[in-house]
């Protein structure tokens, strides 16, 4: 089975930034990059399907040079082939989900696939659009928020999350796209020596020209016009001091509020 994983590299959740005075951009103070968590689960699901079906896993990532690190980790975990669609940081930041989906589907259409997997959501943008948009552009069916996969004869049985512990069991025929939910399987780790070995392997690099795409064609339809601080749902009282002082003050407050 040919499996394609769309893998995004995102800033980690401890990212720190300041909003520029005019609200037009973010000035990053502390950034490190990781594989988007839900995409890591998509990769894990693909690797399990590979083991089960003697399959072949191709991982695709869009972004500047830094995303190669994510691709090497994916190869160290067991991906067979990595494709880097190279684009500059600045251009990447200006894209919206529809532009990203356009680029990815162009790249996929040159790759054999039965199942395409990606995460249910990205940490940074959290739009949950790219997977479904790719499927629609390739004209294949899709199931979102997948929490289980079982390969049958020809078809695949899929569990889709519905909330509050409920799931729907569904049947779909490949080729199909699945967006994978957190926790579908436990994640494997890539030991450092395997990552170092992966770095000796080659990554296929594609540019927008190779995909026959012009800047005009990937023009975003939506764009961020202003960044601003999140509104405060409640106005918190900050309790400060040594751990003992904090504990004393907190318990005093909670006793006065008669909750403990």
């Amino acid at each position: 089975m040919n499996l394609v994983v769309l893998l995004k590299q995102v800033v980690s959740s401890d990212v720190e930034f300041e909003i520029s005075e005019d609200g037009k951009e973010l000035n990053f103070k502390k950034v490190s990059y990781v594989i988007n968590e839900a995409d890591d689960y998509a990769l894990e699901a693909a690797l399990r399907l590979k083991e089960l079906t003697k399959g072949y896993v191709t991982v695709i990532s869009l972004g500047p040079m830094r995303v190669r690190e994510a691709l090497y980790i994916a190869m160290a975990k067991g991906a067979d082939k990595a494709i880097h669609i190279s684009i500059e940081e600045k251009l990447l930041y200006s894209l919206d989900p529809s532009s990203v989906a356009k680029i990815l589907s162009k790249a996929i259409s040159k790759t054999p696939y039965e199942i395409i997997l990606t995460g249910s959501e990205s940490f940074d943008y959290a739009a949950s659009q790219v997977g479904v948009l790719v499927a629609e552009s390739l004209g294949i069916p899709h199931i979102s928020v997948v929490s289980g996969i079982e390969v049958l004869n020809g078809a695949i049985k899929v569990k889709r999350e519905l909330g509050e512990g409920f799931n729907a069991e569904l049947l779909i025929n490949p080729p199909a796209l699945l967006t994978i939910q957190y926790g579908i399987y436990s994640l494997r780790y890539a030991p450092v020596f395997k990552i170092l070995n992966a770095k000796k392997r080659s990554i296929m690099t594609l540019h927008l020209q190779d995909l026959g795409l012009s800047i005009e064609e990937i023009k975003p339809k939506t764009r961020i016009i202003q960044y601003f601080a999140p509104p405060k749902g409640r106005k918190a009282r900050y309790i400060t001091g040594s751990p003992n002082e904090i504990a004393k003050n907190l318990i005093k407050e909670l006793r006065e509020a008669k909750v403990v």
Binding site: S13, V15, F17, L26, F123, D124, Y125, A126, S128, Q129, V132, L133, E136, P141, H142, I143, S144, V145, R160, E161, L162, G163, E164, G165, F166, A168, L170, L171, I172, N173, T179, Y182, G183, S186, K221, T222, R223, I224, I225, Q226, Y227, F228, P230, P231, G233, R234, A236, R237, Y238, P243, N244, I246, A247, K248, L250, I251, E253, L254, V259, V260
Partner: protein, 326 residues
């Protein structure tokens, strides 16, 4: 502007109350642009729901009833696509949910519409619609500019819009439409609903909750949070990653895919405050959070904020509780 259309949100065959949030928002926008508000509904036995929604401020309800529409499949995409092709709404509103995560982008692709998902608000400024959403796990919010010639699809988080009280509500015109559906023509075939395992505890009944997040780091960190719960006589709950790691059973999970709780006290330990977690606990009476990251979004929803390492703070709180007891 042409009309505004809402897609009713159903959950396990029942109307989800978040639909009222969409109706309230949709009515405001339709009034501002002097246009009509439609609601499209797909389901199996929906007579009661139609009746229930008939006087809630909608101009028209379009209802599709069919046994195969009891659960979401690609049939929804096809029916709504045909409906919207004909109705030509300028704005389509949905709740950001397990259903719309699949449905909304598919509709956008088919209708060549602009789409902004997972929004926290939808504003009107200078006669333009401005979707508002959060990014980076809630650390920053953004306003989105949209090309305006095309229809716009917007999905909004559950619980962020407070429905307005309205006095004069005209009766909606009801349009029932029949659909021909054949199971073997669907690309996604529904088999059955899998129910959650019977729970041993019900965290929604707890008065006091101490919740652990990924910030516990490892099982010894989780143990500390458990000890705090014990010392307070509180129930232990958690954010999703601890379920995914297999450290706690799913019945303890708070949030969109877990339980919604409203205890008198909710202490969040090492939880960042992603919207899917917030939706499940934001109506708790008193919220305390402990987090090392001074910019963690959870603090925006807290009454008491403690910036610090839970491994140092929690033992001190447990000591303090013991002290008062003896």
């Amino acid at each position: 502007m042409n009309c505004v259309a809402i897609v009713a949100e159903f959950k396990l065959g029942k109307l989800d109350p978040s639909t009222y949030e969409l109706i309230s928002k949709g009515r405001d926008i339709a009034d501002a642009f002097k246009t009509k508000l439609y609601l499209i509904m797909l389901g199996e036995k929906i007579d009661e729901v139609i009746e229930e929604l008939s006087n809630k401020g909608l101009d028209q309800i379009i209802a599709y009833e069919h046994p195969l529409l009891n659960h979401y499949t690609d049939a929804y995409i096809n029916i709504l696509y045909e409906t919207f092709k004909e109705l030509k709404p300028s704005l389509i509103l949905l709740i950001h949910s397990f259903t719309s995560m699949d449905l909304a982008p598919a509709l956008a692709a088919k209708l060549h519409a602009n789409i902004v998902t997972n929004c926290t608000d939808l504003l009107i400024e200078d006669n333009k619609l401005i979707p508002v959403r959060s990014m980076y796990g809630g650390k920053v919010w953004v306003r989105i500019g949209v090309e305006d010639e095309k229809p716009l699809i917007v999905s909004i988080q559950k619980g962020v819009i407070k429905p307005k009280e309205r006095i004069e509500l005209p009766k909606a015109q009801i349009l029932r439409r029949s659909v021909e559906l054949k199971e073997d023509e669907l690309k996604v075939k529904f088999l059955r609903i899998l129910e959650p395992k019977p729970a041993e505890i019900d965290i929604t009944k707890a008065d006091l909750i101490v919740a652990a997040g990924r910030g516990v780091g490892d099982k010894s960190g989780l143990k500390l949070v458990e000890q705090l719960a014990e010392a307070l006589g509180a129930t232990l709950a958690c954010s999703r990653p601890l379920i995914d790691l297999g450290w706690l059973p799913s019945e303890r999970q708070v949030g969109l895919s877990g339980k919604t709780v409203k205890p008198k006290l909710y202490i969040a330990c090492g939880i960042s405050g992603a919207s899917q977690h917030i939706v499940g606990m934001k109506d708790s009476k008193i919220i305390v959070s402990i987090n090392t990251d001074s910019k963690a979004p959870i603090f925006d929803y807290s009454d008491y904020a403690i910036i610090g390492d839970l491994r140092k703070i929690i033992p001190a709180i447990i000591e303090e509780l013991k002290l008062k007891e003896s």
